[in-house]
Amino acid sequence: MTTGTIFNIMRFAVNDGPGIRTTVFLKGCPLACTWCHNPEGLHPAMEVAYRPDRCAHCGACIEACPEHALADAPEGVERAVDLCVSCGTCAGACVTDARELMGREITVAELMKEVLKDRVFYDESGGGVTFSGGEPLLQYDFLTGALAACRKADVHTAVETTGFTSWERLSALIPFTRLFLYDLKVMDAERHRQFTGVSNLRILENLRALAATRAPVTVRVPLVPGVNDDEENIRAVARFVADLGTVPPVHLLPFHAGASGKYHALGMAYAMEDLRSPSQERVQSLASIFTAHGIAVHIGG
């Protein structure tokens, strides 16, 4: 049975495609966007998050850890990174949810059982299941297995992707995917590499090719102040989208500093700690660039 590693199943997701949906977050991403709001989706392996504000200092995790990687400290429980193997035993012993294992292995059959619970809501609202991440294509076999199972169950499917994959893999999804939510971040190749760690060459090529197949696509553009919200970049995005054979709608997703807590819990540094959301006026003015190019633009998911 094909298994995958996911880090969340979010029900009543209303911003990841049409209707009321369940979004499945697959763990692992080839990009490392500085603003990423799902840091727990970056690494393919399991991780243990720790929230000291929930910690009762009961010592159960310290006692439970088979690697002796934990020790009590004034600010909470300290973890010896070199000893920890992210087995999650500590999270199992924690009764206050201070320690949480990020990631869980799941088979396609188990996943389907979960997502089909909300079928009545999909049917009633024209919703379905969205696969997000991380980059869902990184777990290609699991993703295609789950998509095929959804199609068999007659559930609408959407895939949110960075586009950073091979055309072979991306195009193989087309028969099972009713909607692609395709992220476009930065048009300048060098800046793209600077802020995401990879080149955008394949991403742009894949989007061109995908649009050419007339597969339904929505382009999603995060608006991150100082990274990609300059008019030059937005104009370049608009020009690129307008030149695609069938012009997809564009959704603008203004940056929000909501992920800070998760970075801290994972012991990761967050580069965008003090970044403010773009103002409504700014977002509106950027949206009008798309309108001027004859592109249907929507603010929010």
């Binding site: 009543f12 209303v14 911003n15 619970k117 997703l253 929000h256 500093a257 807590g261």
Partner: protein
């Protein structure tokens, strides 16, 4: 809102409610009259005496006239049911929340006249005397409450008959029925004649009451120098000359007809909860269509008249309680709950032009009374739900939303005709009824978790140490979950039997001593049967017990199943010790119970299956058992605010709940226990078989941001439709404000189910960092709908 409505509304909401001794004194005066009278005739004579002598109040600018008391917000009392003590009056006057001012004059009336006369004669005193020691023990332990200890059995709603038949026609029908009585063959002929005579007196009394309004209006009009108001008062006087004697001919007359009938019902006695016009949009449609066609009524005029009726409801605070509950009871609301939408008698879509006018008025008047709801059938258009959701989104809790198709199905299951079911709806909080044809009495809330607590102690109430339950044994000797469930079943049955025995006595007290001939005129088939509403005269006679705390109960079962009988990580002995200690020194065990146990409301079968089990046990113990009126008992799942009181008498529980904390409310999950979002809650709640109840109550909390824009309205509409597709009975959306968010920030553990829209996605509020929480609070505050 028109200037007239603004002024009337302002008057209504700005007056501090106060007690009036007018009715109490008139009833006392009439009760001193000697003579040999049957109970229905005596009650009708008292009723007629009150209506003949109570003050007539005409407020400036009003188009619908009549007050329950001598003036707006003057609240009458009902000493024949329960008589306030001087101490009660003082509590009412001084309590910080929901006070009723009590003047020196009213206190004097109580001290000198009312208390001396009624001491030893009230139904409340009689009721407590008649109850068994077992009943008293269970009542005092907080196992159940008793609705009729201070209010008369009521809970009924009107159908369309009053819009087609005036009181004169009703009197002719009563006369024909009396003439047709079979004194040779029917041993109850005399009893029927007395009941019908009472009805006749009551019908005539209400006609006279309306005429008295006409007389005062005519006198005011004659003296009025403002030609516009003079003309208005003359017109309203003419309306009062016509209704309720005759059937109404206009929209205006129809509303005034209803209001006189309403005043009659709530003056005769203080029937519990909810008396209201029911399906108002259906009743008013013929008048609206005829008059708009003739050009004698505009939408604005119709809205203004409806607004005038709304103010009337708002002018009548609920009669205040007596005894210990006087200090606790915290609402002026009398639970009049107006229905709109649903189906027509013939099964077609009932949403019409008046439906939208009524929704406009609900929106514009924004009054706590009357309450309002929409009855949503699959045949109704989405536009109807969306119009209501636009009001709901404003966050003041109205209207609530019902599944008309399930409501109808509930009534069909109970054996009602399809027409009577379609003409019915819901009232009070969520209670299903065949409007105009049913006496559906709520008899009391029932505390599931307390019964569970007593089960854990083998029949002993740990709060008092008294053995008040069935001897179901020491749970430490149980080796399987089934044994525990069986013990709970025995225990619940034990207390239900005590409750039912009491109910069947209380019901007779009202039937024998305080019949309600006026209310009986209004409910089919009391006239035809010559029987009182309180004595089985209605076509359908249902008694209900309201189950409280099903979520808490399910979580208790689930936690024990998981840890005591499942992985055996906790012994029953250890668990019971932690409950006795209210978890002091048992933090780790409590964490396990709270955070590592299945919880109802997450679409998790390990907990939801116990919800169903608890439901079935309650259903089996109650459903179908006979009452004294030819009807049967059935169940409802609603708490009003009783989950707070019940929580206060219930100790620490195996779901991790500390002693004294409120129980779960309605069929909602335990506060903060649902962590998988609204669809999971709805799925869990829909696993209950709603059709076998007479109403369930589900509350859902949202922040304004989650429901903003047309998209937000769309999603809510789809949630509602989905829940109703699954057979849910009722849902109410609480749109929470910034103040709630602030409390959530201070006390996150109690608000872990609170979902907020962050930016393009949604998350649990308590999972967000403080800065972001602050920002959302700020945003929520600046949200303007």
């Amino acid at each position: 809102m028109t200037e007239r409505l603004r002024a009337l509304r302002e008057q209504s909401v700005s007056i501090q409610p106060y007690l009036s001794a007018e009715r109490a004194l008139l009833v006392t005066e009439a009760s001193r009259v000697s003579g040999v009278h049957s109970a229905p005739v005596a009650r009708a004579m008292i009723f007629a005496h009150v209506l003949e002598h109570k003050a007539i109040c005409i407020n400036d600018g009003e188009l619908i006239v009549g007050e329950r008391g001598p003036a707006p917000r003057a609240t009458p009392t009902y000493p024949e049911i329960c008589c306030h003590s001087m101490q009660d009056l003082e509590i009412l006057h001084t309590r910080p929340k929901i006070p009723y001012a009590v003047s020196e004059e009213v206190r004097a009336a109580y001290r000198d006249t009312l208390i001396p006369f009624w001491r030893g004669r009230t139904i409340r005193e009689k009721l407590f005397t008649e109850m068994t020691p077992a009943w008293h023990a269970a009542y005092e332990a907080g196992i159940f409450t008793e609705f009729m200890e201070q209010r008369a059995p009521g809970h009924t709603v009107l159908d369309k008959k009053i819009y087609h038949r005036g009181m004169l026609e009703t009197i002719r029908e009563i006369d024909r029925t009396i003439a047709g009585l079979d004194f040779l063959g029917d041993p109850s002929a005399y009893a029927k004649q007395e009941e019908l005579r009472g009805m006749r007196i009551a019908a005539a009394a209400v006609i006279r009451y309306a005429e008295r309004h006409a007389e005062v209006l005519e006198a005011h009009a004659a003296a009025c120098t403002d030609p516009v108001r003079k003309q208005e008062m003359t017109h309203v006087a003419a309306v009062c000359r016509r209704v309720p004697a005759h059937a109404p001919a206009t929209f205006h007359e129809a509303l005034q007809m209803y209001w006189f009938i309403h005043l009659g019902v709530v003056t005769e006695l203080n029937p519990w909860d909810s008396f209201n016009p029911g399906r108002l949009d259906q009743h008013l449609l013929p008048f609206y269509l005829a008059e708009t066609q003739q050009g004698t009524l505009t939408d604005d005029a119709a809205r203004e008249l409806l607004g005038c009726l709304w103010v009337k409801f708002s002018n009548q605070p609920a009669p205040p309680k007596v005894g210990v509950t006087a200090a606790e009871s915290a609402t002026y609301t009398d639970f009049a709950n107006i229905n709109c939408g649903g189906l027509r008698t013939d099964g077609s879509d009932g949403v019409n032009e008046v439906t939208y006018l009524v929704l406009d008025v609900i929106d514009e008047m924004r009054l706590v009374q009357p309450s309002s709801n929409i009855q949503v059938s699959r045949k109704n258009p989405d536009a109807f739900i969306k119009r209501a959701l636009h009001i709901i989104r404003k966050g003041w809790g109205q209207p609530s939303i019902f599944n008309a198709d399930t409501v109808i199905e509930e009534m069909l299951r109970q054996g009602k005709s399809i027409e009577d079911a379609r003409d019915g709806g819901t009232s009070g909080c969520v209670e299903t009824g065949a409007f105009g044809k049913e006496s559906y009495i709520l008899t009391g809330y029932f505390n599931f978790p307390k019964v569970f607590e007593i089960t854990l102690h083998g029949g002993v109430d740990p709060r008092t140490g008294a053995m008040i339950g069935a001897p179901t044994g020491d749970p430490r000797t149980f080796t399987t979950m089934d044994e525990l469930v069986a013990a709970y079943r025995t225990q619940l049955r034990h207390f239900i039997d005590i409750k039912l025995r009491g109910n069947n006595v209380i019901e007779r007290l009202y039937a024998v001593y305080v019949p309600t001939p006026f209310l009986s005129i209004l409910i089919d088939d009391c006239i035809a049967r010559g029987k009182d509403y309180a004595d089985g005269g209605a076509r359908y006679n249902t008694n209900y017990i309201q189950g409280v705390g099903i979520g808490t109960l399910a979580d208790c079962f689930a936690a024990i199943s998981a840890h005591v009988f499942g992985d055996r990580s906790v012994s029953m002995d250890e668990l019971l010790a932690s409950l006795t200690d209210d978890f002091a020194g048992h933090d780790r065990l409590r964490g396990l119970l709270l955070n590592r146990s299945p919880k109802y409301g997450n679409d998790d079968e390990r907990a939801d299956a116990f919800m169903r089990e608890g439901f079935e046990i309650f259903y089996d113990a109650v459903n179908g058992r006979p009452n004294t009126k030819g009807g049967v008992y059935r169940i409802q799942m609603l708490p009003t605010t009783c989950h707070v009181y019940f929580g206060s008498v219930t100790g620490a529980l195996p779901d991790g709940r500390r002693a004294g904390v409120p129980l779960s409310e309605g069929i909602s999950p335990v506060q903060g226990a649902d962590r998988n979002g609204p669809t999971a809650v709805l799925r869990s709640a829909a696993k209950m078989d709603h059709v076998r109840t007479g109403g369930t109550l589900l509350n859902q909390k949202f922040t304004p941001e989650l429901v903003e824009g047309e998209k937000g309205i769309d999603h809510l509409t789809r949630l509602v439709r989905s829940y109703f597709t699954m057979g849910g009975h009722h849902i109410q959306f609480n749109i929470v404000d910034a103040a709630t968010l602030r409390r959530a920030q201070e006390h996150p553990a109690e608000h872990r189910d609170l979902i907020v829209r962050v930016a393009g996605y949604s998350d649990y509020f308590c999972d967000l960092g403080k800065a972001l929480q602050d920002e959302i609070i700020e945003r929520t505050e600046h949200q303007s709908f």
